[in-house]
């Protein structure tokens, strides 16, 4: 049988990087192929070539056995290939129906293109039904919808465009568990209807759940393939990194008995923003040298809690104690001065100044320590850069390299590096390895574990279940702005976490 879509020997050179070096891929009718690989392996480039956003320097693209050439996303869509983007690509100021028909509106009056709104809404309602959304959503503005529903709108749009190939790029990165389940139901339905799908994800559990076949890329080349029966976590990781990862989660057992609490949070209330003004009082503590995991669905208030304690978000009530002493934070510099440091969730927006160099970013929060007689002491600054980069094994020729050009993993290491020089007391990690490839993940985990062993209180907020279970000494679960429960290492299971996160209670 002719594959629906095939690419042979694709090569793509970017300035300074050979992104694809002869990659081939086949996608059959109604097949779901997962494409995995570390960051920088070439997955996104490959997907963008298939979706007509990039054109390959070399290589053949065949659609239903016929050679094709795409000169833009419109050509790919005409060939029924749709990309569901990693960053949601909807015009949020328009209605759902307007977005579904954006670029291919139903119009009359010829070149005047008078919009036939009623027909578009009727068709939108039908398409929304196919992805499990209520028909009433057709008239709503997209920005009013939660992230998961936006994603479903994108899928509805692709189905409306007669998609026979759907490409998902990290579709679940901003979804809750419920939304993810709904997405998989929709994917199952599409598969039954004969739609072929390419699925890119870092979340190997999801790949296992939905893929018929796994294609692994490494350094812009095909690293191997796994048939349905062969798909396992270990096999995938082995192909991705090209070696066996024996110490994926390097957590050491910290046997010493209960240590003294470093950060105590008593009955804390803070602004959630918008109409929901404040939360219930939140009480917990983090002890020296422990990794406290924090789980919860998107919107549970974990990030907001961290932001409140770091001084980004106004605190409206309650008490904070650091090593037994009450303290107040009104702005991040208060928290930084005390050694309560945050590695934020959104590295690109809050963690780094992407256009600046590694050195600039490392120095920025440490300028108080770099002062010399005449401004910044260059020698001390250079030492700081060299030491930090060596300690974290940042892969870059020098500190003069622009941060935005590094891979996700190396960027994340620089964010950690900003704080290491300050001897953190409490290190708040919000999604510590989001968008980080497997190799760099292992290095970051080793770093976190090492910091904990040296007595730093680590508060790790994570939506990555494997990471949470693999790294935490103890886990707090949040649900709708409150602490839903605590799980000790012994009681820590995925089921227990999910039960608490979804508002259930444990026996």
């Amino acid at each position: 049988m002719t594959p629906r879509l095939e690419i042979r020997n694709a090569r793509k050179q970017f300035p300074g990087v050979l992104a694809l070096d002869g990659v081939s891929l086949q996608l059959g009718v109604g097949e779901i192929v997962a494409v995995i690989g570390e960051n920088g392996a070439g997955k996104s480039t490959l997907m963008k070539i298939l979706a007509g956003i990039y054109s390959p320097d070399e290589g053949e693209l065949l659609c239903e056995g016929q050679p094709v050439r795409f000169d833009g996303p419109a050509d790919a869509m005409a060939a029924s290939i749709h990309l569901i983007h990693q960053e949601l690509n909807l015009a949020e100021n328009l209605s759902v129906s307007d977005n579904i028909f954006l670029g291919r509106e139903l119009t009359s009056l010829g070149a005047i293109r008078f919009r036939n709104g009623r027909a578009m809404i009727a068709e939108s309602e039908r398409l929304l039904g196919l992805v499990g959304l209520p028909p009433s959503a057709a008239r709503r503005r997209v920005e009013e919808l939660p992230p998961g529903e936006k994603q479903l709108v994108e899928i509805a749009r692709a189905i409306g465009g007669n998609a026979r190939v759907l490409i998902f790029d990290e579709p679940t990165s901003s979804l809750t568990q419920n939304e993810t389940d709904r997405l998989f139901q929709t994917i199952d339905g599409l598969k039954a209807a004969g739609v072929s799908m390419l699925y890119i994800s870092h979340r190997l559990a999801e790949v296992k759940r939905c893929a018929d076949r796994v294609v692994v890329l490494r350094d812009g080349k095909n690293a191997g393939e796994l048939a349905k029966a062969e798909i396992s976590h270990d096999a995938m990781v082995r192909l991705m990194v090209g070696r066996d990862m024996t110490t994926y989660y390097p957590r050491t057992e910290r046997t010493a008995g209960p240590k003294k609490p470093v950060l105590e949070v008593r009955n804390l209330q803070f602004r959630m923003g918008g109409i929901r003004r404040a939360t219930e009082g939140i009480t917990f503590e983090i002890r020296a040298g422990e990794i406290l995991g924090m789980s919860g669905l998107v919107g549970a208030g974990r990030t907001e809690l961290a932001e409140a304690i770091f001084g980004v978000r106004p605190i409206t009530g309650g008490e904070l104690l650091l090593e037994g002493q009450p303290f107040r934070v009104n702005r991040p510099r208060d928290a930084i001065a005390l050694g309560v440091l945050l590695v934020p969730e959104d590295r690109r927006a809050h963690g780094l100044i992407l256009e600046e160099t590694i050195g600039f970013n490392l120095s920025l929060p440490n300028l108080d320590r770099l002062q010399g007689l005449l401004g910044v002491n260059r020698r001390v600054e250079r030492e700081l850069h060299t030491n930090t980069m060596a300690k974290l094994r940042v892969k870059a020729p020098s500190a003069a390299k622009v941060v935005g050009l590094l891979s996700g993993g190396n960027q994340q290491k620089v964010v950690y590096g900003k704080w290491l020089a300050r001897e953190p007391k409490v290190l708040i990690l919000d999604e510590p390895t989001r968008g980080v490839d497997v190799g760099a993940k292992a290095e970051i985990y080793a770093l976190i574990d090492d910091l904990a062993n040296r007595g730093v209180a680590i508060w790790m907020i994570s939506s990555d279940m494997e990471e949470l279970l693999g790294m935490s000494d103890r886990v707090l679960v949040m649900n709708e702005g409150r602490i839903a429960g605590e799980l000790s290492r012994e009681r820590l299971t995925e089921e227990a976490v999910m039960t608490l996160a979804t508002g259930g209670t444990l026996p």
Partner: protein, 327 residues
């Protein structure tokens, strides 16, 4: 959300008119209301251009200079012996070319709209000053007596002023309604309008949906510059004599003010035709009110600034209310 914006600016306008009528018994005389409406029409036309660009995520700082250039070019062509009826379309064509240049620089060369049009602001003002110092209809009538009839006809049809220079009817207001009507139709009832809104908020989304983003943007710049240069023609016909170094100067900011008051968010992707009309109507009433109150006219800029700031505050409040989320 848009409903609240329109209702808000409508309420402001009603309040301003009420204060105007209360200020002086002469304020509600037809002649005064006509004068105000005439100014509103003029501002409406340039506000429309600014609004179209703002809601599609662009900006044009060269508008004021293009207005000045329009007036000077119009006079220059007639002095060179080109018939007024032919001069008007030629000038508008020139405006379209300016818009095309702006649009190409922004889309194809990928320069920032702010910078491109800032440069345009100086370049077109310079061009206007090279073409003439002070310009006036009288001089054109003296040089070409055969144009006098046509000029008067234009003045009557486009402005509503009779031979004595008295305003018989605020035609510019009607012109504005006509132009907003056409563009409003495209904005709210056709696919092109959706594209402008989509581009204004998220041009990548529009691009990936197969929309010809560049073409759509260029059309916006062409419309804006054409409207601006046409406003220059109106300015000369209305005021009879102008100076090339200050005609239209600063009007780009007044046009942007009108657009923002009318509910066009500087974030792009928001705005309504009706809002644009109401937004453009505010400032002429405000000016008139200040005149009638006998307040020192030096206070006008400060009042405009405060009005805009207040409008922005209210608008931001509405936006946050609807977004219902982040701090």
């Amino acid at each position: 959300m848009n409903v609240y914006r329109v209702a808000g600016i409508f309420a402001v306008l009603v309040a301003l008119y009420a204060m105007l009528f209360a200020s002086d018994p002469n304020a509600d005389r037809t002649s005064n209301l006509y004068t105000v409406a005439s100014r509103q029409g003029f501002y409406g036309i340039i506000t429309l251009g600014a609004a179209l660009l703002i809601l599609s995520g662009g900006i044009d700082l060269s508008m004021g200079s293009v207005i000045g250039l329009g007036a000077v070019l119009f006079a220059y062509l007639m002095e060179e012996g080109i018939h007024p009826y032919l001069a008007v379309p030629l000038v508008v064509l020139g405006g379209a070319m300016i818009g095309l240049v702006n649009g190409l620089l922004v889309t194809k060369v990928k320069l920032q709209a702010f910078l491109v049009t800032l440069c345009g602001m100086f370049v077109y003002r310079g061009l206007a000053r090279l073409l003439g110092g002070s310009i006036g209809l009288t001089r054109i009538r003296e040089a070409h007596p055969e144009f006098a009839g046509a000029l008067q006809n234009l003045r009557f049809v486009l402005i509503g002023k009779n031979k004595e220079g008295a305003l018989e009817f605020p035609i510019q207001f009607v012109l504005m309604l006509f132009l907003v009507g056409i563009l409003g139709f495209f904005l709210h009832y056709t696919a092109y309008g959706r594209y402008w809104f989509a581009i204004g908020r998220n041009d990548l989304a529009a691009k990936y949906a197969g929309v010809n983003v560049d073409r759509q943007r260029i059309i916006g710049y062409v419309i804006c510059s054409s409207l601006s240069i046409f406003a220059g023609v109106l300015l000369l016909l209305d005021y009879s004599s102008l100076r090339s170094d200050n005609a239209g100067a600063g009007m780009e900011l007044e046009a942007i003010t009108g657009a923002v008051l009318g509910g066009c968010s500087m974030r792009g992707g928001e705005g309504t035709a009706i809002g644009i009309i109401l937004g453009a109507m505010v400032m002429p009433v405000l000016n008139n009110l200040i005149t009638f109150r006998g307040i020192n006219s030096d206070v006008i800029p400060a009042i405009i600034g405060l009005t805009l700031l207040f409008g922005t505050l209210v608008d931001e409040g509405i936006r946050r209310w609807f977004k219902n989320g982040r701090v």
